[in-house]
Symmetry: C2
Subunit: 274 residues, 2 copies
């Protein structure tokens, strides 16, 4: 195999191939309808962090969307590990995408579909720079597949991030359609309020994030309904996802949170020990 | 040009090519994030019905999503008309897709993007068979880009249709996240209640449909807030979209609506005269 660096190869339906040879069929429902799922994972330089958690979430979501996973977790681990060799000992982001496959015009599930999977590798170095967040007007659709699962239908999150950036923030705080706090455009949020670390419920529009799940399982964070009043009163906040890990929030709606960095460090250390 | 029938050719970024040669780049944000728009139009056998309406809606939505339309309406008309020649004098469905183009990992707009457009042609014959509808639990995200525009982020509508089918219906009635009636999985709805023809507001999750807009402009239908109580009391209903035209609703939640066929005929005739 010729080494051409991160991003020169992809894993597609069981094979490693050059990125220039890998294309999506224009009738793939992932493209035409956002009808699919993805997972973004951290290659640590040695292994895929939280691989089993990612596979469990993907399998659960695929089952709910009635997409049959064409590869076992074992086969995917082998394929993704091979792909990640191009990163050498560096950290990198692996994105695994699953679609329902190609189909004719229309929304109805085709009678027979062959799901399609591919994975790409991109350079990625986790950052711990604190982020400034602002609440945006675009909400997460509480209870809908697009909010409960990491689907390819991501345009609301794309535009939420763009709205936050246009307001001078680094990222958005999205509320759920029930008006409680949900998440950022691409991460879960944890707030610290009167000594308690809380993260929004899935019912309020939060994605069941990998790091979020680990923090809850370790007893470090509680899932709770977080109102905008609680958000405005919190003493610290962090964002969490599988790539970022735990990242401090510098400010929410221009209100500075001096203790977020300490909370991020504390949660990071506690999670590593759990 | 070798005639190979409907679906053998596509229009892509200004050129007609064989479908086998047309592919989507795997880093196209239409595929990775549902970050794009589409229009579905009826080829009558002679021309594209409501072409100007489709172009106006696409331009408005693209502007709101900050995607620069790479082709003028005039250029698109020429391209789509050429594509549609494969349908001969038969009716067909033209789907025009616009994406933000390729980009690196992440949600943020890339600094420089080249939007990507393509169009496909599929066999289509409008049907006037009455449809049975059932209300589903998946809601339209009122006010969000995914509900206001015809975006590629369509998984909630896909799953709404699937839920309706699993309940024995032909299509779904989706409520908005504010609990008012919004639309079906792929069409607008018009109900007749006490002699008035009403269709849900865009603010309640209805897409600003082409036929819906024409019916309102002709004074045949009023946009209004439609509660589930009003839905349960209506005397007739029809679905409308640019492909279907106006199609009668046979039943809503197993309550039969005997006068829907007459309403569909009346609205069709009135719209043709308007």
């Amino acid at each position: 195999m010729t080494a051409c660096g991160v991003g020169s190869k992809v894993w597609m339906d069981g094979h490693i191939c050059d990125v220039g040879q890998a294309h999506i069929d224009m009738s793939d429902r992932g493209f035409t309808l956002g009808d699919g799922l993805f997972e973004t994972m951290l290659w640590t330089g040695k292994h895929i962090r939280y691989f089993d958690d990612h596979m469990a979430r993907l399998a659960r979501a695929a089952s709910e969307l009635a997409i049959a996973l064409p590869w076992s977790a074992h086969e995917l681990r082998d394929g993704l590990n091979t792909l990640a060799q191009d990163a050498g000992g560096q950290t990198a982001a692996i994105r695994l995408t699953l679609t329902r496959g190609t189909g004719p015009r229309g929304l109805a599930f085709p009678p027979q579909t062959v799901p399609h999977m591919l994975a790409t590798l991109a350079p990625y170095a986790p950052s711990s720079t604190p982020l400034r967040l602002k609440t945006v007007t675009i909400a997460r659709n509480c209870g809908a597949p697009s909010a409960r699962f990491k689907t390819l239908s991501y345009v609301d999150n794309v535009m939420a991030l763009n709205q936050a950036r246009s307001l001078g923030a680094d990222d958005a705080i999205m509320l759920g359609t029930n008006a409680n706090v949900a998440c950022s455009s691409g991460a879960n949020i944890v707030i610290v309020l009167n000594g308690r670390a809380l993260t929004p419920n899935v019912e309020d529009g939060a994605l069941p994030g990998i790091v979020r799940g680990r923090l809850i399982a370790a007893g470090l964070v509680d899932a709770a309904c977080i109102t905008t009043h609680m958000l405005a009163a919190c003493q610290a906040a962090v964002l969490t996802n599988a790539l970022v890990g735990i990242r401090p929030v510098a400010a929410i709606n221009a209100r500075f949170l001096d203790s977020s960095l300490a909370v991020a460090t504390e949660l990071n250390n506690a999670l590593a020990l759990s």
